[in-house]
Every structure is written in structure tokens, then in C-alpha cells.
């Protein structure tokens, strides 16, 4: 009886394991749909990191940080501004790969009509109250949490 119950659970768990795969597909579709339709409102544009062939939507609203999208915070509110800070969760959908960015790597952000190219200039860990590190003129700063939310990891890319 127990054995049968375990078999049933194992069988069902196979379907459960399909959930993240489905989520990935749906998220990609959502992102592609936003990009293709050039949706405005809360969406400012999208980010593309060639090194990882990573693409995600940039949004700006007052709600809590979206778990799956890149959020534009502080300073400039529009792509093309001089001091752009993009925050993203340290997960596979958003910014968990930025740890692998090296100086010289390209980051492109676009407002759906024009591309702005940046080149990584600096990467560093910062304290949670080091606000100054986010204030970088003519730069794109990517930020994500690290060290169990005790620190932040930032990538500063200069506009080229």
C-alpha cells in the first residue's frame, strides 16, 4: 500500500517538475510579447547582455520588485538618462549571471526605438547603505543581492 502510494507520488512529482519548465516558457513568451509589442506604460524597454544572450524587460513602477523582470530604480526614469540603475533579483530569470560579467563586456539597453551601449567598467560588492555607489554619471549600474541579502553586488558599465 505504502509502495503504491510512493509510486503515485513519484509519478505525480514528474508533473510537478514540469512547472518551472512551463514557467520558463511562459515568462519567455511574456518577455518576447512585451518586446515585440513595444509595450510602454510601466515598461521602459529591455536589456540585452550578449555574453549570455540574456534578454529581459525593464520596468518602472512603484510596486515591489518583480521577481522575474529588471526594475529601474533611483535617478533616471527613462532609458537614455545619464544615471541608470537597474535592479534585479539574484535568480536565474534576472541577474544571477551578472557575477560573471567582466570589464569590457557589453550591455545593451533599448527603449524600443534606440539602443544604448555600455561596457562594463567596474564590478564590486557594496554595503546595503552605500548609496553613493549607485550614483554613477553616464553609467548603467546593475545591482543584485548577495551574501544572503547582507550585501549588494553591482556592475558599473560606462556608456560608449
Amino acid at each position: 500500500m505504502l509502495k503504491r502510494l510512493i509510486k503515485i507520488i513519484i509519478f505525480l512529482s514528474c508533473f510537478i517538475f514540469m512547472i518551472p519548465v512551463t514557467k520558463d516558457i511562459k515568462l519567455k513568451q511574456k518577455i518576447d510579447n512585451i518586446i515585440i509589442n513595444k509595450e510602454k506604460s510601466i515598461y521602459r524597454g529591455y536589456i540585452y547582455i550578449p555574453k549570455f544572450d540574456y534578454k529581459n524587460v525593464i520596468k518602472k513602477d512603484k510596486s515591489a520588485l518583480d521577481e522575474n523582470l529588471v526594475e529601474m530604480t533611483n535617478f533616471s526614469d527613462e532609458i537614455g538618462g545619464s544615471n541608470i540603475v537597474l535592479a534585479g533579483h539574484n535568480n536565474r530569470y534576472v541577474f544571477n549571471k551578472i557575477y560573471y560579467l567582466k570589464n569590457g563586456d557589453e550591455i545593451i539597453i533599448t527603449d524600443n526605438s534606440k539602443d544604448y551601449k555600455y561596457v562594463v567598467d567596474k564590478t564590486k560588492y557594496i554595503e546595503v547603505d552605500d548609496y553613493d555607489s549607485l550614483n554613477n554619471k553616464d553609467s548603467l549600474t546593475l545591482i543584485t543581492c548577495t551574501n544572503n541579502n547582507q550585501e549588494r553586488y553591482i556592475v558599473i558599465a560606462k556608456r560608449v
Binding site: L65, F75, V128, D130, Y131, N135, I143, T144, C145
Partner: protein, 472 residues
């Protein structure tokens, strides 16, 4: 008896000489007749005599006929100094002297018509009622009109004792101002003007225009135009009936003088700046004289104004209209425009205006919290003030003008509000408040909760599979 007769003859001769005056010398009379000029003498309404006009000379000197009743019958005349021997009074003598003086020999009168007029005016002292001048020896020949010349001579005679109205007067005039003095008595034409101190002048009618390029005292003399020596004589030969002639000495002539005293002039220059030494334009000043009478109004241009040329004296300079944004200078500046030896005196006033200062309050917050920021104030792109708010507030004194205030540094954790705030300081906005709010910088929370459900499920699956395998 003969002796008695001789004595009587001597006495009668001496008596005759006493009556007739002293005969100084004998002269030779010559005549030069003028062609086509005849005089017709009227008495009782009709011509009683006429004759061809001659120029009469006594030893070559022009003499006038004063007795139209007679003709010259001899060339041998005697000279007498007693005019009354002519039968005319000394009063008529003086009048004839004036006719002679202003007549034919007077400068500008050396013409035949003036000679005719002179002669006619003298003849009118005889019993002649009138004289008519003709071109022929009958009175129906064309007339020659000398009335203008007669009137002119008469005018001069009538004015003989009238001196120019400016005689013996000292005129006061400023340098370069020039002086025009008018002879209200219209007798200037009887005088030659001598500028003793060589001051340039010109004559226009009865006016003298004098240039006054330099300070000093300048004397002028008014000298009668004609001046000659000699006394009045009559010429006659009482031994025969012949025409009495006369030559005339000068009448009583007077010289006059007047003086022109030329004073310097000056001006007042004003240099107007603010406390920083900037030249201020558009400040209006009044210049008043000692009697508080307005003399000039000045407006500074590029910090400078110069009065018009002013007479020497004491003046008061007052700021009439202050420049917007500046305190009015209520001082009265006394300026003495005086000096010696110079034609022009320059006096300079350096006046500094104070700017009106307004207190502007700058408040820097972040929502309800006061934060201290560093800021700059710009005017025309140049920093005019740098400061920092304390407890979120700063008070700055600023003059009138247009400014821009901008944050340049904020504390860590606040977003710099680098928006430039333009503001004007003026009489309306004096003591106003500017407020700037700063957003806080957000430190995003980007941690991801680990989802261990799948791992547990996976481990459960593995464990389950092992368990199933072992129990099979």
C-alpha cells in the same frame, strides 16, 4: 591936424583889428567847379540866386562857403579865428563844426552828394529857406536828391552826445561763452573799437560780438571815427565884398571804454560704482546751484556722467533716481567749481551705491525630514554664492537680480536634486523662501527565497525509488 588924423587912423586900425579878430595870415583861395551841379537858393518861396557848385580851397585846404549871399570876388583872403566875424554866433559855429565833422570828410561820406549835403546844411543857417540841386543852370533841369545824405548827417549830429549804451561798463562773461553786446543807443557806428588786450571781436550792426576763449580782463576803447586837430577859422577879405568861407575844427569828441571780464567755467564729473567697483549706468543726478535752482540733470552711462559746462560757483549734487536694486544715496554732495588760472575746472565725484540686500531662505528636505545639502547660487553662469544648509535651512542675502540655485551635494542616501531653480530677487520677492525636496536613494532588495520544495520532492522521489526497488 595931420598928427591928430594919423593918431585917429592908428586907433581906428587897431579898433578895426580888434573888431575883426586877429588875422593870422593871408591865404590864396582857389575854386574847383563841379560839372553839372548847380544850387538854387530859395528865399520867400522863389529863387533868389543860383550857382555852379565849387570845391573851395584855402591854400589847398577844403573850406566851406558859409555865405551864399555873395560870390568869391578875390583870391586873396585872410584867416580869422573869431567866428563871430562871419555874422554867425558861436552856437551856429558849433553846429557847423558838427556838420563839417559828420559831413563830407566823415569816413564813408567822401562823395559829391555828401559834399553837397554838407554845404546845403551850412547854407541853411543863412537866410536861405531851401536849396534845390540841379544838373543845369536852370531850375527845371533834373534834380539831384541829397536828402538821404542830409538825413544821415543830421542823424549823426543828433546822436553826437549819445554814447554807446555799453560805454564805461564792465561785462562779466564765462570762458567760451562769448559775449554779444548791443548798443541800444545805436551810436556805435560813430566809433572805432580798439581791443586793447587783443580780444577777438566782430561788429554786426549795432552789436559787438566778442569771443571769450580765455579768462582775464579785456579792455576796449571806443574812439570817435574821425579825429583831427585844428580849430575853426573863417576866411574873408573884409576890404571887398566877397564870400565868407570857413574851415572847421573838430567838435567836442569823447573816447569811451568798456571792459570784458572773462571767468572760467567748469563741469562736474560723476563716477558711479557699487561696492564691488562695478560701474553703474542709469543713475540719475541733479545739479543745483547755491540758490537751489536746477542747473543740470545727469544720467550715468557705464558708470560715468558729466555735467554741461557750468559757471564757477558752489553746487550741490543729489541723486535723484536710484538704480533699481540699489539703496538711494540721500547725501547732498557740495562741489565748489572754482579755480584760478585755468579756463576750465573739472571736479570729480566718486559715489558708491549700496545694493539692496534681500534675505532668501533656502530649505532642503526629503519628505518631512530636513537634510543638509551643499548648493551654489549662480548669476549669469557665475557662482555668486556657495553654501550649505544647516538643519535643512540657509539664509542668504542677495541683491536684486536673476539667479539660479542648484544643489551640488547631498548626504549619502539622498538623490541629488540637481534641477536648477531660477528665481528673481526684486522688491516683490525680497525675503522669499525656496524649497527643494530630495528623494531618498532606494537600495533595492533583490534577494530570492530559495525554493527547497523541488529538492525535497526530488530527494523524496529518489528515496521512494530506492525504497520501492529494495522492497520489490
Amino acid at each position: 591936424m595931420k598928427k591928430i588924423l594919423r593918431i585917429l587912423l592908428i586907433i581906428s586900425t587897431v579898433f578895426l583889428i580888434g573888431i575883426k579878430g586877429v588875422s593870422a595870415e593871408s591865404v590864396n583861395i582857389t575854386q574847383q567847379f563841379v560839372d553839372n551841379v548847380w544850387s538854387f537858393h530859395y528865399r520867400n518861396g522863389s529863387v533868389w540866386t543860383f550857382g555852379n557848385l565849387p570845391y573851395n580851397y584855402a591854400n589847398g585846404k577844403l573850406v566851406y562857403c558859409i555865405q551864399p549871399d555873395a560870390r568869391i570876388t578875390t583870391s586873396s583872403y585872410n584867416v580869422y579865428s573869431d567866428f563871430t566875424m562871419s555874422g554867425y554866433s558861436n552856437d551856429i559855429k558849433r553846429q557847423m563844426e558838427l556838420i563839417s565833422y559828420y559831413g563830407y570828410k566823415y569816413p564813408g561820406h567822401e562823395s559829391l552828394k555828401y559834399y553837397m549835403a554838407t554845404q546845403e546844411l551850412m547854407w541853411l543857417f543863412s537866410n536861405d529857406e531851401s536849396i534845390k540841386w540841379t544838373t543845369g543852370n536852370t531850375d527845371d533841369t533834373p534834380m539831384i536828391d541829397v536828402s538821404y545824405e542830409k538825413n544821415e548827417i543830421q542823424r549823426l549830429i543828433n546822436n553826437h552826445n549819445v554814447k554807446p549804451s555799453f560805454a564805461e561798463i564792465t561785462y562779466h562773461v564765462d570762458v567760451d561763452q562769448g559775449l554779444t553786446i548791443e548798443d541800444k543807443n545805436r551810436s556805435l557806428d560813430r566809433y572805432n573799437i580798439v581791443s586793447v588786450d587783443k580780444l577777438e571781436y566782430s561788429i554786426e550792426g549795432n552789436k559787438i560780438k566778442i569771443k571769450t576763449p580765455n579768462i582775464g580782463d579785456y579792455n576796449f576803447k571806443l574812439i570817435p571815427k574821425q579825429n583831427y586837430n585844428g580849430t575853426t577859422y573863417i576866411y574873408d577879405n573884409f576890404s571887398t565884398r566877397t564870400q565868407t568861407l570857413a574851415s572847421f575844427g573838430k567838435p567836442d569828441l569823447k573816447e569811451y571804454k568798456f571792459m570784458v571780464r572773462v571767468y572760467p567755467r567748469g563741469d562736474i564729473e560723476i563716477n558711479k560704482t557699487n561696492e564691488e567697483g562695478e560701474k553703474l549706468s542709469g543713475v540719475e543726478f541733479e545739479i543745483l546751484d547755491e540758490n537751489n535752482k536746477l542747473q543740470d540733470t545727469l544720467v550715468t552711462e557705464d558708470g560715468y556722467a558729466k555735467s554741461k559746462s557750468l559757471p564757477t560757483g558752489n553746487y550741490i549734487v543729489k541723486e535723484k533716481k536710484e538704480l533699481y536694486g540699489y539703496e538711494k544715496d540721500n547725501n547732498e554732495y557740495k562741489v565748489s567749481v572754482t579755480g584760478t588760472g585755468e579756463n576750465y575746472i573739472h571736479k570729480t565725484l566718486d559715489i558708491v551705491n549700496k545694493k539692496i540686500k534681500c534675505e532668501i531662505t533656502y530649505i532642503t528636505t526629503s519628505k518631512e525630514e530636513n537634510i543638509d545639502v551643499s548648493f551654489n547660487i549662480y548669476k549669469d553662469g557665475i557662482i555668486v554664492y556657495s553654501g550649505k544648509t544647516k538643519n535643512g535651512k540657509a539664509s542668504i542675502e542677495l541683491p536684486y537680480g536673476d539667479f539660479i540655485i542648484k544643489e551640488i551635494e547631498v548626504p549619502n542616501g539622498y538623490k541629488l536634486n540637481d534641477k536648477e531653480i531660477s528665481f528673481s530677487v526684486n522688491d516683490i520677492t525680497c525675503a522669499s523662501t525656496l524649497k527643494v525636496d530630495n528623494e531618498k536613494v532606494i537600495m533595492p532588495i533583490t534577494s530570492t527565497k530559495r525554493n527547497y520544495c523541488y529538492l525535497l520532492l526530488f530527494l523524496f522521489d529518489i528515496g521512494g525509488l530506492i525504497y520501492v526497488k529494495k522492497t520489490d
